[in-house]
């Protein structure tokens, strides 16, 4: 029999919820994607929490919240401890996305689902792979080979191919067949007849205009608003699709200031600059020929906090700000500010997640007014500050008290020790080079400062004296060769202390925010915003559209097809289409419904004898 394959969706089927699926191959459980939505709704993770401890490996396909957002939480709270596999950009940009999410949340709420440390530790055990790298799993997964392939959509975006015994299971969600400015199209079409294909139906009902037309419309919309003296807000993700938008804007002839505002914008661009290997052929080529890095942005200003934007010269401008859902982050604040001016434009480039502000605004007709919660983190003042300080002092005092108690205890022990040896005058203070005692000396220094107090048991106090004896042998004084070794001056010292920092660099403001331990609290007030600005949606999601999906699926022609994520209608539509045109085995399981897609193909191996093979003439 073939390899046994089961697929169990944990989140994101028959709707547009984040993606998270369990694929087990001969008992080895892969968690493919570990997404969360912008609400950080823990109820979505219920199914995951039930299986988290049984998972043997995690595969991440894209660097946005929908594909990896729940990783830190799952690692910390749900007992997920499997090794994680991702491409370098997914790892790096995913990390930045999570930082941005956390920082945006922390500004407006007492966010406690995960901390930056959790993010760091979750991403610490990510094994980074390159495209088309065949990674052989060991141990329980012996015989399984995983390899990431180009998916398009986001930088580093991955189609996972899991191979065992020559049977391929392919997980391909959110792929893009089109070649874009910064990305190549997907490599999905190069796989033919895999045993199982898991794909999404998210775009099964959408059609897109040609890229050129869309880009022209995009620039035109911006120009109209800017020329009329309005501002444009483009709510974007942290480090995904925004890269393509940045390149479009960078190339555009608009002469108005353009700002890219996220908590991690400058480090995003800094890292992206070193990911040229992962980008489209044309970017790589232009770099090889002219050494012009496409992401050396000349027309776009990177900002990491909103004050800088407020200080920018007045006048029409374009601002790309995270989050795309308008639920939190800079885009939320800017929206509230700008929505009331009819000259302004809010341009959505992707469909908002379900039940978010962005989604509400994309409704047709758009709502006249929306209720939003404005929250702000303010430093504590007055009574609150006092109360806080008191609380802190109390905690400190308690800690101090307990440490004093400990110290006294140890002192008592020490005193009794001394008492037993009449000749000792606290060697701890004199023989500093001895480390063991050296560590104690701190505690006793304050006693000694008062004066030379001989221990009560001392008979004849004297300064300690050490005789420097040396051993002699037939050749003279015995020397220790180690004393004469030239100390290797460690030239790395200057730099090494930086090496321990896993995430390298964070923007200063973010660092400030993290280090900012000033007492603060979150103040929120609800208000209704009159939406007078114009709202537009243009599809720059970078996903294959309905027609492309269908033709790709027909080309790939999997033996079995599993459909996940996508509205109920879209899923049903694609299922019916595929049953007719692609293959007879199309499944669209419900959440936590395990479907068995073990291939019913039988196989056995035959050895081909040398005699036969030497007679065989192969023809194409």
């Amino acid at each position: 029999m073939g390899t046994s394959v089961q697929v169990t969706p944990l989140c994101g089927v028959y709707n547009e919820n984040p993606l998270s699926y369990l694929i087990s191959i001969d008992g080895f459980n892969f968690l493919v994607d570990c997404g969360w939505n912008d609400h950080f709704d823990t109820s979505l993770l219920q199914p995951l929490s039930r299986v988290a401890s049984n998972i043997d490996a995690v595969l991440l396909s894209h660097s946005d919240t929908l594909h990896l957002g729940a990783l830190p939480y799952a690692m910390k709270q749900l007992g997920l401890s499997a090794p994680v596999y991702a491409t370098e950009p997914v790892f790096r940009l995913g990390l930045l996305t999570m930082y941005d999410q956390y920082l945006s949340r922390k500004q407006v709420s007492e966010f406690d689902l995960f901390t930056l440390d959790d993010v760091d530790s979750a991403f610490q055990n990510v094994t980074r792979l390159t495209y088309s790298q065949n990674h052989h799993l060991s141990g329980k997964g012996e015989g399984i080979v995983i390899s990431p392939h180009v998916a398009g959509h986001l930088l580093g975006g991955t189609i996972w191919k899991i191979t065992k015994d020559g049977e391929d299971v392919i997980y391909a969600v959110d792929f893009n067949h089109r070649k874009e400015r910064h990305l190549n199209g997907t490599a999905l079409e190069s796989f033919v007849r895999p045993a199982v294909l898991v794909t999404d139906a998210y775009n099964a009902l959408n059609t897109q205009l040609p890229t050129k037309q869309r880009e022209r419309a995009f620039i035109d919309a911006l120009r109209r608003t800017l020329e009329a003296g309005g501002n444009v807000l483009i709510p974007v993700d942290t480090s995904g699709r925004v890269l393509e938008l940045l390149l479009i804007l960078e190339e555009s002839p608009l002469s108005y200031p353009i700002y890219f505002l996220t908590y991690v914008s400058s480090s995003t661009i800094e890292y992206v600059k070193s990911f040229l290997e992962w980008m489209s052929d044309s970017i790589a080529k232009s770099f090889e020929h002219t050494r012009d890095n496409a992401f050396l942005l000349k027309h776009i200003t990177l900002l990491i906090n909103k004050n800088e934007l407020d200080n920018a010269p007045a006048g029409p401008k374009v601002v790309l700000a995270s989050m795309a859902s308008l639920e939190a982050g800079f885009s939320h604040d800017i929206f509230v500010e700008w929505a009331t001016d009819p000259r302004n434009l809010v341009l959505f480039t992707e469909r908002g997640q379900f039940a978010t502000l962005a989604r509400m605004l994309q409704a047709d007709p758009p709502p006249k007014a929306v209720k939003v919660t404005m929250s702000k983190r303010v430093p504590l003042v007055g009574d609150e500050l006092l109360a806080y300080e008191e609380e802190q002092n109390r905690i400190k005092e308690e800690a101090l008290k307990s440490s004093i108690i400990k110290e006294e205890e140890s002192k008592a022990i020490r005193a009794s020790d001394n008492a037993s040896d009449p000749m000792v005058i606290d060697t701890g203070n004199t023989n500093i080079s001895s480390e063991a005692t050296g560590s104690h000396c701190g505690k006793y220094r304050d006693i000694l400062i008062d004066g030379f107090v001989p221990p009560p048991t001392s008979v004849a106090p004297m300064f300690p004296f050490y005789e420097n004896t040396s051993d002699w042998d037939d050749f003279g004084e015995v020397i220790n060769p180690d004393d004469y070794v030239i100390k290797d001056e460690d030239m790395d010292q200057g730099a090494m202390h930086l090496g321990s920092n896993l995430d390298g660099k964070l923007d200063e403001a973010s660092a400030n925010l993290m280090l900012d331990t000033r007492p603060s609290k979150v103040v929120s007030n609800e208000l209704t915003v009159q939406v007078k600005c114009s709202l537009t949606y243009m599809d720059f999601e970078g996903r294959a559209d309905s027609r492309a999906i269908k033709s790709i699926l027909a080309h790939v022609a999997p033996l079995k097809l599993v459909l996940v994520r996508g509205s109920a209608e879209a899923t049903e539509h694609l299922k019916q289409h595929c049953l007719k045109h692609v293959c007879p085995h199309v499944y669209a399981p419900q959440i936590e419904e395990t479907i068995d897609v073990t291939s019913d193909m039988c196989a056995y191996k035959v050895q081909l004898s040398e005699k036969l093979m030497s007679n065989v003439l192969f023809k194409k």
Binding site: R193, S274, R291, D488, N501, G504, Q607
Partner: protein, 697 residues
């Protein structure tokens, strides 16, 4: 699809031909018992791979090329370049543009970016005459379009050759290539270093053990000092020289190791404020251009530099200033100058050397491997006098220090690398003959118990190895629904994809492979005015199964020959033939066409006789006739053939007697060889004489 051809069956009994398919050949076209012009040719199972394409730095013009005339460049499938150094990549534009090569070229991203800069510079500074130029800038530019990039660990398959690369350490973007052809793995290390340094990672240890390891042996049995001691010596020499008012010349190759040395110097200067007034010059036009490359491919470097990069760009040197040419150089007081070329053949490093060599306060630090035949190699031995560029001799008073920073593996690294990898075959390249010989001896004693073969081929000397890989085919689809028992035959289509084989039922072909099946229905119309019965009659004389019927739709008479070909009477003047194309049906239809055309020509002569009578006679006559023919043919083959008792034929060849039963084809003979031959001959004669049996399909 598989079919056995007669051409192959001739070769079958030829043992060398049989081994041909298992033979793997490795031929160094350069870098065999020498350092420079790396180029190693490898061929296995009709697939050909060329590793590296360098020039020899000590020669110029065509003499510097590897021995390309030993091979046919058009047969090479893949060319893999390990890193951008001239001795590994510089003949590439020549090979791509001036030879018949039409395969694919791969190198890593960083290598490709630097390759262009480096070679353009090489073309500009090399002072050979135009005729001697191997290529010009246009060739380099054109070659860029042909070069494809590969990322570390990325697996690429070209024409059944699978390959991927590992980090090699040596310089930025340096790779070791692992090539897998039909399950036989070959590792080509190129230049590699197992020691992590300031900016590069150490070479990786491949996950799989290769069958053959083609490994560099530059440093032979030498051992490197630990890196920090070398760095200390380096900085101490420079520090003491400049504090005595001397000048320091560091002849170094512009890219690669130079960056490492600059990192050391910049850091040392930063830690020693008293040196801040002493200038360090880096004389290379490439320096600035390459910075962008070094900044971009930071992901190929080690974690240390990456974390440093996060705070500030470590390649943005604070104490090092560029120097364009000797004219711009204000030579007053102590200074440190790093200049290319590393061998002091010509250029700025030589100009400075000539100027400084007679002053004993000055020092020359040679920081890497120097190729035989260059001035740098000469001065390491500290001769009393040297010849200057203008032909005069001058005393060599300056101190010469040789502190190797070249990131090549030393003996310790090579031996641990090989003992961890345990390749059964080791081919040494890229090393001076003596060093290589010493390394070979030492490795042999080290690996005596492991039975590893160590080979040191010279240039153009082929190493042949045989790999007999067992071929397994996977039977899938409906053919595999039941597992065959012992002695049963499995028959189906053998499909080869790359080097994997599958056996499947013809009906499953489109399910399991990209191959599609199609039926070609043929139809041919022939003018014919005679009676349809004549055709039917004639066909019956040739074919055993000819059925007459009428077409249901058109109501015209048809003939069906062996259920393969249908003959229809279209009109008074035409008949048509219909058949689904396959070799046998094609042949049958051919014969029918010939027959019909013959009838048309002979028609006046035809006399219709009574059919029954004719058939009887024919049956009788034809069987007699057949017997005669069989006899005659056997005579022509074996000579002495007599009719024996009970209708058997007695064949006598050189005293060996065989009895042949004409009915069953059974042969009795003492001599096995004769028996076989007679049997085969009779079977073939039967096939030629008798009508085609129905079972032929």
């Amino acid at each position: 699809m598989a079919s056995s051809g007669p051409a192959q069956s001739l070769k079958r009994r030829d043992p060398p031909a049989n081994r041909e398919a298992d033979r793997l050949t490795v031929t160094p076209l350069g870098a065999g018992n020498e350092v420079g012009r790396s180029c190693v040719y490898m061929s296995f199972k009709g697939k050909t791979v060329l590793f590296d394409c360098g020039i020899h730095p000590a020669y110029s013009g065509m003499a510097a090329l590897p021995y390309f005339d030993e091979i046919d460049p058009s047969t090479i499938d893949v060319l893999l370049i390990t890193h951008f150094h001239l001795d590994h990549a510089a003949s590439l534009p020549y090979f791509l543009e001036k030879t018949t090569f039409k395969g694919r070229v791969f190198m890593t991203h960083a290598t490709k970016a630097i390759y262009k800069l480096l070679l353009s510079d090489y073309v500009k500074v090399s002072k050979v005459s135009v005729e001697d130029m191997l290529f010009d800038e246009q060739d380099i530019f054109r070659s860029m379009d042909k070069i494809e990039v590969i990322d570390f660990h990325q697996t690429v398959e070209v024409n059944g050759i699978r390959f991927w690369c590992y980090t090699a350490g040596h310089v930025l973007g340096a790779a070791m290539f692992m090539v897998d052809i039909a399950g036989v793995r070959v590792l080509y290390t190129g230049d590699y270093s197992r020691e992590e340094d300031r900016h590069l990672r150490a070479a990786e240890l491949p996950q799989f053990s290769p069958d053959i390891c083609i490994i560099e042996s530059t440093y032979g049995v030498q051992l490197h000092q630990p890196r920090n001691i070398r760095e200390k010596r380096f900085t101490d020499v420079i520090h003491s020289t400049i504090s005595q008012g001397g000048r320091v010349l560091i002849p170094a190759f512009a890219l690669g190791r130079a960056q490492e040395l600059l990192l050391i110097l910049d850091e040392y200067w930063a830690n020693h404020p008293e040196l801040h007034n002493i200038p360090i010059y880096y004389a290379s036009p490439l320096a600035k251009k390459c910075m962008a490359v070094y900044q971009t491919y930071i992901n190929s470097m080690n974690d240390r530099i990456r974390s440093q990069f996060a705070s500030s760009n470590p390649f943005d040197f604070k104490h090092i200033s560029p120097l364009k040419s000797i004219e711009n150089f204000n030579d007053v007081g102590p200074s440190v100058v790093m200049a290319s070329p590393s061998g002091l053949q010509s250029g700025l490093s030589r100009q400075l050397f000539d100027r400084w060599c007679s002053d004993k306060k000055n020092a020359c630090v040679i920081p890497g491997y120097v190729v035989e035949g260059t001035l740098a190699k000469t001065i390491i031995n500290e001769p009393k006098e040297v010849t200057l560029m203008n032909g005069l001799t001058a005393p060599l008073n300056m101190q010469v220090h040789y502190i190797s920073f070249s990131a090549h593996a030393d003996f310790a690294q090579t031996s641990t690398f090989l003992s961890e990898l345990m390749p059964p075959n080791i081919v040494l390249v890229h090393g001076e003959a003596n060093e290589m010989g010493r390394l070979k001896q030492k490795l042999i004693t080290l690996f005596t118990d492991r039975n590893a073969k160590i080979i040191t081929p010279k240039n153009c000397q082929s190493v042949e190895m045989y790999f007999n890989s067992e071929k397994m085919a996977k039977t899938i689809g409906r053919l595999a629904e039941k597992t065959p028992g012992v002695g049963e035959t499995v028959s189906g289509l053998l499909v080869k994809k790359g080097f994997t084989y599958q056996i499947m039922a013809p009906e499953d072909l489109h399910v399991f492979s990209q191959l599609s099946t199609a039926n070609v229905n043929q139809r041919i119309t022939i003018p014919y005015t005679g009676a349809f019965g004549v055709i039917s009659h004639r066909l019956k004389r040739i074919y055993e199964s000819v059925e007459s019927s009428t077409d249901e739709e058109l109501g015209i008479p048809t003939l069906r020959v062996h259920d393969r070909v249908t003959v229809k009477l279209e009109s008074d003047k035409h008949i048509s033939l219909h058949w689904a194309s396959d070799p046998i049906s094609d042949m049958v239809s051919d014969s029918i066409v010939a027959l019909v055309l013959n009838i048309s020509r002979e028609i006046p002569k035809v006399v219709v006789e009574s059919e029954e009578l004719k058939t009887e006679e024919e049956d009788d006559g034809s069987s007699k006739k057949a017997e005669k023919i069989v006899h005659a043919l056997l005579v022509s083959l074996f000579g002495d053939v007599k009719f024996g008792e009970d209708g058997k034929l007695v064949i006598n060849v050189d005293g060996n007697v065989a009895h042949l039963d004409k009915q069953s084809g059974e042969v009795e003979s003492e001599n096995e060889g004769l028996k076989e031959r007679v049997k085969v001959a009779f079977r073939r004669i039967q096939g030629a004489v008798k009508p085609i049996p129905l079972s032929a399909s």
